[in-house]
């Protein structure tokens, strides 16, 4: 049997809780060709370089290998149900000038008008109320699940409000997202019976989710309502309106990415703090450190471990390797954020780290669209958790993880507590 590469090992479910030793091995070859022809980039400097290289595309339709991986006939086990179900690109899977135009069109509806982009800041009181309510709900309990009781409900409620997605539809799209994520695997286990058997269900889930988004947009076209999606359907920006297909694809992206990544960040934050009592204690004594603390948590346990839709449009020479034209490029943010060439003592959690220019939200033109909202939610949620939860203790370490490798996060984080302060 051929020995697995460090990347393949990092992707194994058994290593989901701690992929970092494999990343360390992986970084010895900053740009590492995998057996399937994918080039995995794991070092900080090389990732930043490629994020700013106009010969790199984010549009999987431009790479023959990625197109093949997305079709049923390829025989490739790593077929990608999300991409397959979407005929139109969204801002994370397209290139300039379309990318730039669509992002310019969407951004004011998210942050507010250019002269006073106040919409995110305006959400703070709502976010505080939601967090208060969730923590109040833990009164009288001795054991909580930091995922189901805390990390999940906040972002999903907020994104529904921001976008104008009815909260009562949450169980439906939650099911579709879980099903899709469980069927998406980039590692050696993709060939397993278990994952293969999930693939059809995952495809169907994405289809249903896309259908749901399209119907929601249709309803708003008939009858405008609150939130960003209705505005995008009904209002002309300076550069016109997005087509219905592009809008549906982006709506799906916003609903999904608008909460999944934040859920994982809050869950990982709680988990990480409980693993580092001195850091938790410091944050209790100096609550103002929550702002740099969240940046450090973004670095320490990145919510998007890697991204998989990029490819080389020309031969690209980097770090002694030539990535050939057409080859898929995976950028391993989770590894770059632990790169000792960039971060002193990278495996240490340091809320006062200077020059913490992490890649938790990526960089370049595809810098996370929702970053300002995510930061605010996590600052409030984690700050209040630290302040109000009495004597939290981790029940199980490591906790069970979700299957997905890109959107890496614990499925549950059980915590024993003594009570909830006012």
């Amino acid at each position: 049997m051929v020995e697995e590469t460090p990347w393949q090992q990092a992707l194994r479910y058994a290593n989901r809780a701690n992929p970092y030793p494999f990343y360390e091995e992986l970084r010895k070859t900053p740009v590492a060709r995998q057996p399937d022809g994918t080039y995995v980039v794991s070092t900080y400097r090389e990732i930043v370089t490629l994020l700013h290289d106009p010969r790199v595309s984010s549009d999987p339709r431009k790479s023959p290998a990625l197109v093949a991986a997305g079709t049923e006939h390829s025989g490739e086990p790593a077929a990608e149900p999300i991409r397959e179900a979407l005929t139109e690109p969204n801002i994370i899977t397209c290139d300039p000038p379309e990318h730039d135009r669509d992002r310019r069109t969407m951004m004011p509806h998210f942050v507010g008008p250019p002269h006073a982009p106040h919409l995110i800041s305006d959400l703070e009181p709502d976010i505080r109320r939601l967090v208060d309510g969730l923590l109040d709900g833990m009164r009288g309990k001795t054991r909580i699940d930091a995922v189901d009781d805390f990390a999940y409900p906040l972002p999903v409620t907020v994104i529904c409000k921001v976008l104008g997605v009815p909260l009562e539809d949450e169980p439906r799209f939650h099911h579709w997202i879980e099903t899709a994520l469980d069927g998406l695997d980039f590692g050696p286990e993709a060939a397993s019976e278990e994952i293969r058997s999930r693939l059809a269900g995952a495809r169907q889930a994405v289809q249903d989710f896309g259908q749901f988004a399209a119907e929601l947009l249709d309803r708003y076209a008939d009858q405008p309502g609150p939130g960003m999606l209705s505005a995008l359907v009904n209002e002309d920006g300076p550069e016109g309106r997005m087509s219905k297909g592009v809008l549906a694809s982006n709506a799906l992206l916003l609903i999904f990415a608008g909460h999944e990544t934040t859920v994982n960040l809050i869950a990982h934050s709680v988990l990480t703090l409980l693993r580092h009592p001195e850091a938790l204690d410091k944050l209790r004594r100096r609550p103002e450190l929550i702002v740099p603390a969240v940046e450090e948590l973004l670095r320490f346990e990145s919510s998007v471990q890697f991204w998989h839709t990029r490819s080389a449009l020309e031969d690209i020479d980097i770090a002694g390797t030539t990535i050939p034209k057409g080859a898929p490029i995976f950028l391993a943010y989770g590894s770059a954020n632990r790169d000792p060439e960039r971060f002193t003592d990278p495996d240490a959690l340091d809320f006062e780290r200077r020059d913490n220019q992490h890649l938790g939200f990526s960089q370049g033109i595809h810098f996370c669209f929702g970053a300002p909202l995510a930061r605010l939610e996590v600052q409030v949620a984690v700050g209040e958790f630290v302040r109000r939860v009495e004597n939290p203790r981790l029940v199980e370490d490591p906790p069970p993880y979700r299957h997905n490798q890109i959107f890496r996060g614990p499925r549950h984080v059980l915590v024993d507590i003594d009570g909830i302060r006012d």
Partner: protein, 467 residues
């Protein structure tokens, strides 16, 4: 004692009890002082500045200050650390005696030094006719006071502003005028705005940008005279084609003059091009021999640059002030082999007419230009400059996220034209002449001055020009 131990002892002793004087209390002077302390220098530190203000940041002056959003005194620079210095503000240095190692101040005082940092920067070139320059309403813009006064007059508002010279500062002033809805005429001797810094191809785009924003732009013309009313306030200008422009505020943005007059007779390689120094900031004497006790940083420094055929460059850029000062300060409290070079890839930015113009490298070093990304029509693009088949600079309009790609190509002496992007290609990707003006054609002085190599020969003598 070994030589190495002796050197180490010298360094230790100097750091403990040496005397350092910094002339120039602006960005470079401040960052140098902070670096000296950061490096463990605990001796005496004196900072001399001709303006009465503690160090402030200049780029906001021609933008948010002029617009009236930010008061001129809100530009004080943040401090990176305590500097524990003797600040001598509001008194200019007027002479340097290298034999006795003293700086002479305007009030007659002598300040002794063991090591000296020259960071006196530049000043605005005044309108050449002194009587006309003295008319009320005639401005230059370089200092806090300049900006404060001009802002007050723009707030009145004037019936029309005349900007003479369409370099970056002049163009930014014109942009602010249009944001304030003030009619503005821009007169530029060259073929287009920004032509000295970015060449005629980009200049033509900048010209269209100005006109689209309602600027009355007149290129290829000079201003022959300014006329005042009986009260001594400027009212009109006559242009070189005989036409008249009525304006009650005139901004002369004619480039800058390096503040080196105080070094006359000091025997340093100082002249209109600045103060010659090596890439570690050590000043050259008049013979082109490097000195050990005098250092130079910021706009006034002129050093050889490895990426540009070792030609001497003076870079009036913000990051040159910061990084040059840090390197010079480090070298002031070290000896060989611990010297550090200042190897900056120059870069600058200018926000004007709602567009972010950024550049890396030295555009005037290039003779060709090629558009590489985006759309000139939408004024969102990147372009690269080439010289002898190498990329030497790049410019972006609202495409700043791509600039570091070009910066890396320049650092690695990448090919020109650079490899094409995989998407968003401009319709025409053929290199063309970059159209920099002949250096003999007077334009707004470009902020990078390229000349030949250091003064050399058995002896040299400068005959200072008096204005």
């Amino acid at each position: 004692m070994t030589l190495r131990a002796t050197v180490a002892e010298l360094v230790r002793e100097f750091r403990a009890s040496g005397r350092i004087v910094i002339v120039g209390a602006s960005l470079a002077g401040l960052r140098a002082a902070e670096t000296l302390r950061e490096e463990g220098f605990t001796g005496s530190l004196t900072i001399i500045g001709d303006e009465p203000y503690e160090p402030y940041d200049r780029p906001p002056l021609s933008k948010q200050v002029l617009k009236g959003w930010v008061p001129a005194d809100h530009t004080k620079l943040p401090r990176m650390r305590e500097v524990d210095a003797d600040w001598r503000l509001g008194v200019a240095a007027v002479g340097l005696d290298r034999a006795t190692k003293q700086v002479r101040l305007a009030n007659g005082e002598q300040v002794p030094y063991d090591r000296l940092l020259i960071a006196t920067g530049t000043r605005a070139r005044q309108w050449p006719n002194p009587a006309e320059a003295a008319l009320r309403g005639v401005h230059t813009i370089r200092s806090r006071d300049d900006a404060e006064q001009l802002q007050k007059e723009l707030a009145e508002p004037p019936s029309r502003v005349l900007v003479i010279g369409a370099g970056f500062i002049g163009s930014e002033v014109a942009s602010v005028c249009r944001e304030l809805d003030i009619p503005v005429t821009v007169v530029e001797r060259g073929s287009a705005p920004l032509v000295g810094a970015l060449g005629g191809v980009i200049g033509a785009i900048a010209a269209q940008l100005q006109r689209d924003h309602g600027v009355d732009l007149r290129c290829g013309l000079g201003v022959s005279s300014l006329e005042g009313d009986s009260g001594g306030h400027v009212r009109r200008a006559q242009l070189s084609d005989g036409s008249i422009v009525d304006a009650d505020v005139v901004v002369a943005s004619l480039g800058s003059i390096r503040n080196v007059e105080w070094l006359e007779g000091s025997g340093l390689a100082a002249g209109f091009w600045g103060v010659g120094c090596d890439a570690g900031g050590r000043a050259f004497d008049i013979n082109g021999v490097v000195t050990d006790s005098i250092f130079v940083a910021g706009d006034v420094a002129r050093a050889p640059h490895v990426l540009y055929e070792y030609q001497f460059l003076a870079m009036e850029h913000w990051d040159n002030a910061v990084l040059g000062a840090e390197a010079a300060a480090h070298n002031m409290v070290n000896l060989e082999p611990d010297y550090r070079p200042h190897l900056l890839l120059p870069g600058f930015w200018s926000g004007q007419f709602g567009v972010n113009i950024k550049s890396v490298g030295v555009p005037p070093f290039g003779d060709e230009i090629v558009f590489t990304q985006g759309s000139v029509e939408e004024r969102r693009f990147a372009a690269a400059y080439g010289h002898r088949g190498r990329i030497v600079a790049a410019v972006t309009f609202d495409h700043g996220k791509w600039l570091e790609y070009y910066g890396k190509l320049i650092e690695h002496s990448g090919p020109f034209p650079p490899p094409p992007p995989g998407w968003d290609q401009p319709p025409d990707m053929k290199p063309m002449p970059a159209e920099f003006p002949d250096p003999r054609v007077p334009t707004a002085i470009p902020d990078v001055v390229l000349t030949g190599h250091a003064p050399s020969g058995r002896t040299a003598e400068f005959r200072p020009r008096h204005h």
